[in-house]
């Protein structure tokens, strides 16, 4: 009995060993792209890898912001059970890289020419101490207006070029009995809108100093105070039930024509597409007034972990496929974002996508491509969340004046640094 058992065990472990000696033809991928459009976008990648003979092992952890997925990832990494790759955002990649668990893709990067094609601002997050640790999948930009064209025509509005134009447009909508501004009263949505307000109020230099460099003088400045005043002005145009609303419900208000405009990142476009709306005829996409020429971005990245040697081939295949031009185009057309490399042809994209690609290229060349603080690309999570707290408390009235908001912002950021 015992001998049989021993032989069995020996055989099994022998088999396992034999299997280990060869490369594992499987990609293990942790992500939170579980909603319809996102899952469809990811299927493109699955297909590309299947062609090269790599199986796909999904580790989906639902939950839009990825909090649940990040908690799961923390547990997997703590247990030494690294996935091949994981969807990650901004500073998380650097945190894990500092903890020494990320792999090294520098060879692949060199071969594929990522250094030249991926915007420098993104490389800040995908390259750690000279080593490529993540493959950026897309670039979202935050400073967009999404406008219902039918409502726009009804009130006779035109594209607002300055913040004052924008306020005048909102006034027109109000007079016509439409909800002027669709906003979801959750802290990240409010802060995402405020990113654009600050860029519009203070200009590119100011945004960079305040929200990327966290410069004390800029955070304390009158320009910041003015930005809070402008935010308060915008908030006066939302409907009374906005608190706690999900972003896609706010987008739905614009799609249905209940509201004129939403300030949201380009993932909102996915909702318009899902509702079978076309840009130009059903809805309009403009840059947030006064921010044309600059792009506030966030980006989804596939962080590559330091997996055992037998799984490295699969990882390299995944990374190569992720940043291949064909995938970048196919994926981002579906997802609503723009490619993470600037040399992808824009032929398959719609009007908004084409504008997004051109803007990204111009911003990259002109040095006006900035990380979004609300989306965790401006500063580490502790600071970004402290910022969201202050903006949200200002919008909902716990913080009553712009003066107080500025003091609180400086205090909260200092505290979190």
């Amino acid at each position: 009995m015992l001998r049989k058992l021993l032989i069995g065990t020996a055989l099994a472990s022998g088999l396992a060993f034999a299997a280990h000696a060869e490369d594992v033809k499987e990609v293990q991928m942790l992500h939170w792209w579980t909603s319809g459009g996102e899952a469809a976008a990811l299927n493109v990648l699955k297909g590309d890898l299947a062609k090269e003979g790599f199986a796909w092992k999904d580790v989906p952890v639902a939950g839009g912001g990825g909090d649940a997925a990040m908690t799961a990832l923390k547990a997997m990494v703590a247990a030494g059970n690294y996935p091949t790759a994981s969807q990650m955002l901004g500073y998380t990649v650097l945190d894990y890289a500092a903890a020494g668990v990320m792999g090294d893709l520098t060879e692949t990067a060199k071969k594929e020419g990522w250094d030249k094609s991926v915007p420098a601002a993104l490389q800040k997050f995908s390259v750690y101490e000279g080593k490529w640790v993540a493959a950026p999948v897309n670039v979202h930009s935050v400073n967009w207006l999404w406008i219902n064209k039918a409502v726009m025509d009804k009130i006779g509005g035109t594209e607002p070029k300055t913040f004052d134009d924008f306020v005048a447009l909102l006034d027109k909508a109000k007079a016509a009995g439409v909800i002027p501004l669709a906003l979801g009263g959750q802290n990240w949505q409010e802060a995402t809108m405020f990113d654009s307000v600050v860029l519009s109020t203070g200009g590119p230099e100011f945004y960079k100093k305040a929200f990327n460099d966290l410069d004390d003088a800029s955070l304390k400045s009158d320009t910041m105070k003015k930005s809070f005043d402008n935010l308060a002005k915008l908030v006066s145009y939302v409907d009374p039930n906005f608190s706690g609303r999900d972003w896609n419900l706010a987008t739905a208000m614009v799609i249905k024509g209940d509201a004129l405009v939403q300030v949201m990142g380009d993932w909102a476009k996915g909702e318009f597409h899902a509702a079978k709306k076309t840009p130009g005829t059903d809805f309009l996409c403009y840059r947030f007034p006064g921010t044309d020429g600059s792009v506030i971005y966030n980006s989804d990245m596939f962080g590559m972990f330091n997996v055992p040697d037998d799984r490295k081939a699969a990882q390299v295949a995944l990374a190569t496929a992720t940043l291949s031009k064909s995938f970048q185009s196919a994926f981002n057309v579906v997802k609503g974002s723009v490619p993470a490399r600037t040399d992808v042809p824009d032929t398959d994209f719609d009007a908004c996508g084409k504008k997004g690609i051109a803007d990204l290229k111009a911003a990259n060349d002109g040095g006006t491509l900035f990380g979004s603080l609300a989306q965790g690309y401006g500063a580490p999570p502790a600071v970004a969340n402290a910022y969201k707290d202050v903006v949200s408390k200002f919008v909902h009235g716990q913080i009553k004046t712009s003066d107080e908001a500025v003091t609180e912002l400086v205090k909260a950021i200092d505290d979190a640094k």
Binding site: G185, Q186, G244, D389, V395, H396, I399
Partner: protein
């Protein structure tokens, strides 16, 4: 060889006894053996991790646990936030909400549970059907309760909208959107869920009261109110205590209800300490501060449970 054989033969009469004693010893040990795994699991995964959390709260842990002791820094920050009232810091909001929620939730659940139990105890028809109806909400998870009440209380979807459609257009109820009142909607949802369960506890207690005492009191001319005030409620004292303990720990560990109902509320105004702990540990990568807040929550529970255990254990020898 032969000596061994003879000695074995000599032992034959007593041969059965050691065998039996092994067996009975095994029988004695069996409960311990069976319990050992779960005991070990509890020791490691409950008490071990409590100690670990306490340890982490004194370190400089950020994204990942770190083992460098940095003293009371996390507690000092929490202590500082405790007095940040204008504008309220997240921690101040969390603990004041805990006070409001805990107090009202426990009080209303106890009062409502007792009231319903007394009504149901009047030997009415259809009690068998009514009881599960009240008890049923307890079978739902907090997430379901939270989402259902979120829709019901939303002025654009639920109660207010419906009443407006029926013609009562002046009706106004937007607590769930109001930073000052949102915590009371959490109380409403929580009470709806738990009061039926508390009712069942009280009902069991009422059924346990000796009918003779009641009759004796009635003969002495006690009114119904006096009967309940002077006799029934004092006799229900142990039930009050158990119900209080159940409710207190439900209140302190409430997390999912707030998340489902308001996702934190306008500007974080519905946070409870458990939300604070999760936010800081997992979303803001301030594990030390998160651990410190968890330790403070534990202390709160200990402050409630220990006097209870003390009184329970003291009564035993009598």
């Amino acid at each position: 060889m032969s000596t061994v054989a003879t000695s074995q033969i000599k032992l034959t009469p007593e041969h059965a006894r050691p065998r039996a004693s092994v067996r009975s010893r095994l029988q004695d040990a069996l409960p311990k053996i069976v319990l050992a795994p779960s005991f070990a699991i509890t020791i490691v995964f409950v008490y071990g991790f409590i100690l670990w959390t306490i340890y982490l709260s004194f370190t400089n842990s950020k994204t990942f646990p770190s083992y460098v002791i940095t003293g009371w820094r996390a507690y000092q920050r929490l202590w500082g936030w405790t007095f940040d009232t204008d504008p309220p810091s997240s921690w101040y909001t969390s603990i004041t909400n805990m006070g409001i929620f805990g107090f009202l939730y426990i009080l209303i659940c106890l009062a409502l549970g007792l009231f319903l139990a007394i009504l149901l105890d009047q030997k009415i028809r259809g009690e068998g059907m009514l009881r599960p109806i009240y008890l049923y909400p307890m079978a739902l998870s907090f997430i379901v309760t939270g989402v259902a009440w979120k829709w019901f209380l939303d002025p654009g979807l639920g109660l207010e909208q419906t009443l407006h459609q029926w013609g009562w257009t002046s009706f106004h109820f937007d607590w769930i959107k109001n930073k000052d009142f949102v915590i009371y909607t959490v109380v409403i949802a929580g009470v709806w869920q738990a009061s039926g369960f508390i009712m069942a506890m009280f009902l069991a207690g009422l059924r346990g009261i000796d009918g003779e005492i009641m009759k004796a009191a009635q003969i002495d001319g006690a009114t119904t109110f006096q009967l309940y005030r002077r006799i029934v409620i004092p006799l229900l004292r142990p039930i009050f205590l158990s119900a209080f303990i159940v409710l207190a720990h439900l209140a302190i560990k409430s997390y999912d209800l707030v998340v489902a109902l308001t996702s934190g509320g306008p500007g974080g105004s519905a946070w409870l300490p458990s939300n604070f702990m999760y936010e800081y540990t997992f979303k803001r990568n301030e594990m030390a501060v998160g651990s410190a807040s968890a330790v403070i929550m534990l202390m709160t529970i200990v402050a409630i449970i220990v006097p209870y255990l003390y009184s329970e254990l003291r009564e035993k020898p009598r």
